[in-house]
Structure formats: structure tokens, C-alpha cells
Symmetry: C2
Subunit: 312 residues, 2 copies
């Protein structure tokens, strides 16, 4: 699927528009399906923001056309090779939309759902051709963050996962294969695990919210951008690596694990988090922090990309 393809994105929210601009910038003919005419404006804004980003990441084909908008599946100007579903996270809504979609596209068109919370097996249960349904879950924004999680449901066919992996791969994404459905896939499970201990530390008064944030942004984050959590302990084992680490310190690790917290988000803990977050924000709005995040993250990702492939 590296030639020019016809791609439909079902749903013109933040994630849908984010996917659409990336597909279009790579040179694929891309249409967003959404009955809300306001999506046209969002799509144009996302295109304006994303093209310079994709340009910097080497993922903008010169002369690529912006994605366009249609109101319903019946209005699609082509038979799509792939549909990226990015509707709100409500099962009933998605099932109705998938039925409409299936009536309008070829039987073998792959459908990838962006869902972070619903399972593919549940989503495909009432489909006419469930074998074409897979997970394709991005990090936000999809055009900037490298990873995409893919996963088959109970009734997904044998070829679907490979096809969608090849397509995302052709866009330069880092494809992560979830072998067994699990709440939160990989990325959100790992994120939830870190946040649980962050909340415990703040809630128990071991440190301020601000110092927990700085422990991550000024220490662990940069290391994790370079080496993953298991590799860190592989390196801690010296020349003999992970086996040596596990022999010497495996019991200690299990004791640390036993001491980790299991907080609940009760009123007291919520108040501590909200007060601490206000200190971290220091008067900046979420929009300000978000814009700053995207600016710095693009620099970091470009730095990582150049380091990993010095010829790029």
C-alpha cells in the first residue's frame, strides 16, 4: 500500500482530522466523512498546523492535496482502500455508523478503529464483514506522535493486521502489535501505571505534584525516549546484562513493587492533584502548555529521528 491510495476517515473530530492530514500529506487521496459542516474549518486548521510538522519530519509529499469533507458514506467520491474510524467512544454510535459504512464500501476494504477504550471484538460483533476490522490506535496528535497500536479482534481475518501494518509502516509510523486485547492496549496501560504511582506519591505527601512532574520531565522522560524500561535494567546488569541484574536485584525489585501505592481518586486526593497542578501550570492555560508541548516535542522527535538514522 505504498502507492497512492484512497483513504476515508470516519469522523471529523480532533483525532479524525489529525489522521486525515497525515494521510493526505503523504500523497493519498483522503476524504473525511462527517455530517457537521464545521468540520471543514477544523480540517483546514489542522492541515495548516500539520503540514510544517510533517515537512520537518520528512513526511510531506510536495504538491499533496488537502483532505476534503463529505457528509455521509453515500457521498464518498471513491471506493476506499482503507477506512480509519475515529468516531466518539460510544459503542452504539459506532455500530450504527459501521453499518452505514459497510453498505457503502467494498466488502474487502480494511476498517481500522482509533478506539482507545472499546474492544475490536465488541465493535465487530454486528458487522457484515467483521474479518476486515482491526485496531489502529494512534497517540495524539496522530501526525506528530510516532506510535500506532494495532490489534485483531476475535473475528478479524488472517490478512487484515498485516495489511494495516504495512500501510502505517509506509507512513513512517512505529507499529506496535497488541497480541491480545487488553484495556488500554499498551501505551495507555503503561501511562496509567506511571500515573498511579505519581498520584500515590503526591497523595501520601512523599513529594509535591510539581517535584513528581520534574522527576519525569527532567530525568526519566529523556532516558525513556532513548532506552525502554527493560533495557535500562539490562544496562544496570553491566557486561552480563539483564540475567545478572535479575539474579542480583530481582528480589529487591519485587520488594519495590510490593511497596508501590494503590491510590483512589477520592476527594482529598483530587484536591491535592488539582492544587499541585495549579502550581505546575503557574498561570499558563492548558492551551499555552499544549502549544509549548507540541513545539518542544517536535524538536525532540526530530532530534531522535536524526540520531536513529543519521542519513535522514
Amino acid at each position: 500500500m505504498t502507492a497512492t491510495r484512497h483513504i476515508a476517515v470516519l469522523g471529523g473530530g480532533t483525532i479524525g482530522c489529525g489522521w486525515a492530514v497525515m494521510f493526505a500529506a503523504a500523497g493519498h487521496r483522503t476524504v473525511v466523512i462527517d455530517p457537521d459542516p464545521a468540520v471543514a474549518g477544523r480540517l483546514a486548521e489542522t492541515w495548516a498546523v500539520a503540514v510544517p510538522v510533517l515537512d520537518r519530519l520528512g513526511r510531506h509529499t510536495a504538491g499533496a492535496a488537502a483532505p476534503t469533507l463529505v457528509a455521509t458514506c453515500a457521498d464518498l467520491p471513491f471506493a476506499p482502500d482503507l477506512v480509519q474510524e475515529a468516531l466518539p467512544e460510544r459503542m452504539a454510535l459506532k455500530r450504527v455508523a459501521l453499518a452505514d459504512l459497510e453498505a457503502a464500501i467494498p466488502a474487502d476494504t480494511i476498517i481500522a478503529t482509533s478506539s482507545s477504550g472499546l474492544s475490536v471484538s465488541d465493535l465487530q460483533r454486528e458487522m457484515v464483514h467483521p474479518e476486515r476490522m482491526v485496531l489502529g490506535h494512534p497517540c495524539n496528535p496522530p501526525y506528530l506522535m510516532p506510535t500506532v497500536e494495532i490489534c485483531a479482534g476475535d473475528r478479524t481475518g488472517p490478512d487484515a493486521l498485516g495489511k494495516v501494518a504495512a500501510f502505517y509502516d509506509s507512513l513512517g509510523k512505529v507499529v506496535l502489535t497488541v497480541r491480545r486485547e487488553a484495556p488500554g492496549h499498551l501505551v495507555n496501560r503503561l501511562q496509567a501505571a506511571l500515573w498511579r504511582e505519581a498520584v500515590h506519591i503526591a497523595s501520601e505527601g512523599i513529594a509535591s505534584v510539581q517535584d513528581v512532574e520534574r522527576a519525569v520531565t527532567d530525568g526519566l522522560g529523556a532516558r525513556w525516549a532513548v532506552v525502554g524500561p527493560t533495557t535500562i535494567f539490562h544496562l544496570a546488569g553491566g557486561p552480563a546484562g539483564l540475567p545478572k541484574f535479575l539474579d542480583d536485584l530481582g528480589d529487591d525489585v519485587e520488594r519495590w513493587w510490593a511497596s508501590l501505592g494503590t491510590p483512589s481518586l477520592d476527594d482529598r486526593t483530587r484536591a491535592i492533584l488539582i492544587e499541585g497542578m495549579a502550581e505546575v501550570a503557574a498561570g499558563r492555560s492548558p492551551a499555552d502548555i499544549g502549544a509549548e508541548r507540541d513545539r518542544v516535542m517536535l524538536d525532540l522527535l526530530d532530534c531522535l529521528r536524526t540520531n536513529k538514522d543519521p542519513n535522514s
Copy 2:
């Protein structure tokens, strides 16, 4: 403590040498105390590696002298303003060495322990002047990684924490205050929490070790280098921030937390991790991976530093 100070480092292992070169490069007169003459070579090697790094980070004072080595506390050529203890993690060994040290230095010299696993309260129990003892725990290597965790023990005096914080701050470190002693302080607790879920995912076959590593290096790590774990959910709340996120999704988060794993490092899990790590390493030795990590991390930290302070 921003003027030139006299600093002693007790113990010439990797961490001790790492601290010593950073103190010396900042212009402080620095001596390492270690009876092993081989430490002289390690110290010289560390100096050669660290000076270009500190230069790039803007933390190398032109003309600064390299740290020197003495065999025992009695050989110190000066009365130190601060002692950074970096001995092996054995309580009995540290207690004997601290007694020797106290006999050789002024009563009010601050002693900061680099211990990751022993508590300050336990370490200071038999000291003559326990009020001068604090935690000063770095990430490795200390001259490269920004964060230092500080913590008082039960018998630490009221001024000690502020003094050591001011000194580390003068070296450009990000000082994290641990308000209450806890196993693993902040950084290692957070690291253990992430690794526990990484191990669970691999052990349960939800994904390969390699894909878990890539979920962190290619997705979460770069984001965490820019925004901490609580800030991420603050931004997920939109313009209304964290309160809105907690109202809308707090219950979902608690359900994710309940689904996280509690693996043990049994033989089956160890085998999965070791086999998966071999795929990640792909023939590279731990030394190769470590050298690559330090090279890329310096680039990333420099990128972050320049972004945070565009005038630096």
C-alpha cells in the same frame, strides 16, 4: 555555596567518580577518598568523558582542575565544606566509613549520601553529628542527568536540606525534595511502577518485550520529557484542565488501575524478559547500547535545555 568550595567524595566507584568530575568541572576543589589506587585511572577516564559533556551543557569552568585521589579521610588536604558519600550499598560498611569520616572533618560539614536503597534515618543512627546527614541521590551518570533527590532523616538538622539544595542548584541540577522517606525515593518508585506493567504485558503475552520498549522510546518517553504524567491528563481535560478530566474520566482511570498487573519475576517471566531483551539488543553489547544511550541523551538534554531557556 556558589563560590569555590572544598568538596570530598567518599568512594571512587562509578557514582563517586561521576559526582567528583562534575564538582571539579564547576571549579570546586575536589578530592575523592578511596584506598584503591586503581580509582586514579577510573577518575581520569571519567574526567575525559565528562568534560566535553559538561562543556556542552554549559557546566565546565575554563581552567578547572581535575579531581584528585587520597587513600583515607585522614589524608584530606583540606577541611571539606561538603562530603558526597558514594560507597557501596551496605549499611555496615557505610557506618564504619562514616565514623572514620566524622573523626576527620569539622562538626558542621554537610554529608550527603548517594544511597538509592538505604534510609538516611538508618544511616545517621550511630553518627556523632547526625544533624548534618542528608540524602543527595543522583541519576546515573550524575554529571549528565539533571535530577538529584534530597531528603532529611529523622535526626537531620533544620538547615542541612536547604544548604545541600543550594549547592546542587548552583551546579544547575534539578533538585527534587522527598518530604518523607520512602523506598526508592521518587525516581526509582516511578521507574519500578512503569517496569512492573511492562513486565506484566510481556509476561501475559499482550505484546513482545520489543514492542513495549518501542511504546516507551517512540511514544511515551518523548512526551514525558516535555510534560509530566499529571500534566498530560490536565491537557486531556481541554480548556477546563484536570478538574474536568477527573470528573469525566476519573472513574475510568480507577478501572484501568484495577486492571494493571502484579507480576512476579519467576523463572518463566525471567526467561520471557531475557529472550525479549536479546531481540531488542539485536547483537549489540550492553556497552554499545550504553554508549549510544549517552550520546543520544546528551543531544536530547541539550535540545530540552535550549528549548526551556532560549537564551542559554
